[in-house]
C-alpha cells in the first residue's frame, strides 16, 4: 500500500510543486540574468533583491481580468492553455533526478517512474503540446495569433524531427529507451554521452531552443513582428499558463539534455577514483547543477542573439540540422555494428 500508492503520490506531489516553484523562479532568474547582461538591476522592489517577485507576479496574474474575445471559439480558447501546460508537466514523470535515497529506513527512487519506453514517452507527450499553440492561435479569431500559431506549429514539427533523430542516436549508444538505463549506460561506459555524441548534442541543443520557442527562434511570440504571438488575446491566468508552460518546457529540455548527454545524476568523471571525495554530494544536486547550467545558457543566448527569420529557421531545420542528424545516426549505427 505504502510502496504502491502513498510514495508515488507523494513523489508526484513534490515534483509537481517543485516544478511550479522552479518555473516561477526560472522567470525571475531570466529577468535577473538578462538585466545583468544589459547593465540593469532587474526586479529589486519585492523582497530583498526582488526574490519575492514571482509571488507578486502570480498574485497579479491571478487577479487580472480574464478576457475572452467575443468572437473567439470559447471552448477551444479555454482548453488551449491547459493543453499546452499539461504535457509540459507530465513529462517530469520519467525524468530521473537521482538514483536512490534512503529515507525513513526505505529505499526511495528519485524518479516517479522508470518506464521501459521513457524517452519515447517524453517525445510523444511533448508532441501533443503543439496543440495548445495551434488552438490558441486559431480560437483567438485574430490575425496575429493565427500567423504566430502557424509559424509555431511548423517550427515545432520540423525541429521535432531533428531532435528525435538525435535522440535515436543516443538510444543506439545507450541501448535502451529508459531514462535510468541511459544514465547507467553512461556510468558503465565511463563517459558522458556528450563526448560520444557531440554532434547530436549540438543539434539537440539548437532543436531544444527551437522547440521551446526561445531566442533566437522565438518567432511564434516575436513581439516586434506579431505583437505577442499566439497568446496576444490571452490575459490573466490563462496567459500565465502559456508563460509557465514555456518555462516548464525549458526545464524539461535541460533535464533531458542532462540525462542524455551530461550523465544525469552522476558526478563529473564518475570513474576517476581520485574524485571519490565528491561522493558526499547527493546525486540530485549534480542533476540540478547541470540542468541549471543548461538553463543559464538558454538565458544567455537570449540576451545575446538577434532573432532568425521564419524562412531562415525552416531552412536551418530542414537543410542543415535534419541531414546532419541523419548522418550522425548512420555513422553511429555503422560504428556500433563495427564495434560489436
Amino acid at each position: 500500500m505504502i510502496d504502491n500508492l502513498v510514495i508515488p503520490l507523494l513523489k508526484i506531489l513534490i515534483v509537481l510543486n517543485a516544478t511550479l516553484v522552479g518555473v516561477t523562479y526560472m522567470v525571475l532568474l531570466e529577468r535577473k540574468v538578462i538585466a545583468w547582461a544589459q547593465s540593469r538591476l532587474g526586479p529589486m522592489r519585492v523582497g530583498p533583491y526582488g526574490i519575492l517577485q514571482p509571488v507578486a507576479d502570480a498574485i497579479k496574474l491571478m487577479i487580472k481580468e480574464d478576457i475572452t474575445p467575443v468572437r473567439a471559439d470559447k471552448w477551444v480558447f479555454t482548453a488551449a492553455p491547459i493543453i499546452s501546460m499539461v504535457p509540459a508537466l507530465i513529462v517530469y514523470a520519467v525524468i530521473p533526478f537521482g538514483d536512490k535515497a534512503r529515507l525513513f529506513g526505505r529505499d526511495i527512487t528519485l524518479y516517479i517512474s522508470d518506464i521501459n519506453v521513457g524517452l519515447l514517452y517524453i517525445v510523444s507527450v511533448a508532441s501533443v503540446g503543439v496543440y495548445g499553440i495551434i488552438l490558441a492561435g486559431y480560437s483567438s479569431n485574430s490575425k496575429y495569433p493565427l500567423l504566430a500559431s502557424l509559424r509555431a506549429s511548423a517550427q515545432l514539427i520540423s525541429y521535432e524531427v531533428a531532435v528525435t533523430l538525435t535522440l535515436v542516436s543516443v538510444i543506439l549508444v545507450a541501448g535502451s529507451l529508459s531514462m535510468v538505463q541511459i544514465v547507467r549506460a553512461q556510468e558503465s561506459s565511463h563517459v558522458w554521452f556528450l563526448f560520444v555524441q557531440p554532434l547530436a548534442f549540438a543539434i539537440f541543443f539548437i532543436g531544444g531552443l527551437a522547440e521551446t520557442n526561445r531566442a533566437p527562434f522565438d518567432m511564434p511570440e516575436a513581439e516586434q513582428e506579431l505583437t505577442g504571438g499566439f497568446h496576444t488575446e490571452y490575459s490573466g491566468m490563462r496567459f500565465a499558463l502559456f508563460f509557465l508552460a514555456e518555462y516548464a518546457n525549458m526545464i524539461v529540455v535541460s533535464s533531458v539534455a542532462t540525462t542524455l548527454f551530461l550523465g544525469g545524476w552522476l558526478r563529473p568523471f564518475p570513474n576517476v577514483a581520485a574524485l571519490g571525495f565528491l561522493g558526499f554530494i547527493p546525486g540530485w544536486t549534480w542533476f540540478l547543477i547541470k540542468s541549471f547550467v543548461f538553463l543559464y545558457i538558454f538565458i544567455w543566448v537570449r540576451a545575446t542573439l538577434p532573432r532568425y527569420r521564419y524562412d531562415q529557421l525552416m531552412r536551418l531545420g530542414w537543410k542543415v540540422l535534419i541531414p546532419l542528424a541523419i548522418l550522425n545516426l548512420v555513422v553511429t549505427g555503422i560504428v556500433k555494428v563495427l564495434l560489436l
Binding site: W75, L120, S124, S127, V128, Y131
Partner: protein, 171 residues
C-alpha cells in the same frame, strides 16, 4: 476484474468520442475529438502492456498526423456553396453501403478468428534474448514482418516523392 472495468471504460470513451468526431458540426472540434480518441486508444494499448505502441500512437497520430489535419481544416475554407446542400440525402445510400461493408468485414473477421485461431507466432523473447517491449517489436518487425515493413516504407517514400512533385510544380 479491474482490467475489465478499465477496458470497458476506455472502450466506452473511444466509441463516445468517435461518435462525436462524426457528429460535430465544427470541423476543428471534430479534429480535436479525434485527438482525444487517439489518446484513449493509446491508453488501451498501455492496458494491454504495449507501451511502445502507445507512445508511438501518441507521437505519430496525435502529435503528427492530426496536427496536419488541423492545419488543413483551419486554413482551407470548408464552407461549401449553398448548392451543395440542395440534396442533403444524396449520399445516404453511399453511407449505408459503406457501413454495411464495414460491418460485414468485422463479422467476417470475428467468425474467422473464432473458427481458426491465428497461428502462434514465435515470441521474440524465445528466440532472441530481448527484454522489454521495444526490443520485441523491433525484433518482430525485422524478422517475421520484414517484407510488409519494407513495402510499407517504400509506399511512404513513393507518397513523399509524389507530394513533393505535386507541391513543386517546376523542378
Amino acid at each position: 476484474m479491474g482490467q475489465a472495468i478499465a477496458f470497458y471504460g476506455l472502450s466506452f470513451f473511444i466509441l463516445f468520442f468517435a461518435v462525436l468526431v462524426v457528429s460535430t458540426k465544427d470541423t476543428v472540434h471534430s479534429v480535436l475529438f479525434l485527438v482525444l480518441d487517439f489518446l484513449f486508444v493509446a491508453a488501451l494499448y498501455v492496458l494491454l502492456g504495449a507501451q511502445f505502441l502507445a507512445a508511438i500512437q501518441v507521437l505519430v497520430y496525435a502529435g503528427g498526423i492530426v496536427v496536419l489535419y488541423l492545419f488543413v481544416v483551419m486554413l482551407v475554407n470548408l464552407k461549401r456553396p449553398p448548392e451543395a446542400y440542395e440534396d442533403p440525402h444524396r449520399r445516404t445510400n453511399l453511407g449505408f453501403a459503406l457501413a454495411a461493408s464495414v460491418l460485414l468485414e468485422v463479422g467476417a473477421i470475428a467468425t474467422y478468428g473464432y473458427a481458426s485461431p491465428a497461428p502462434a507466432l514465435a515470441r521474440a523473447s524465445e528466440v532472441f534474448p530481448v527484454s522489454g517491449n521495444t526490443e520485441e517489436v523491433g525484433w518482430l518487425l525485422y524478422t517475421s514482418y520484414l517484407i510488409p515493413f519494407e513495402i510499407a516504407s517504400m509506399l511512404l517514400l513513393v507518397a513523399m516523392i509524389g507530394a513533393i512533385v505535386l507541391a513543386k510544380r517546376e523542378l
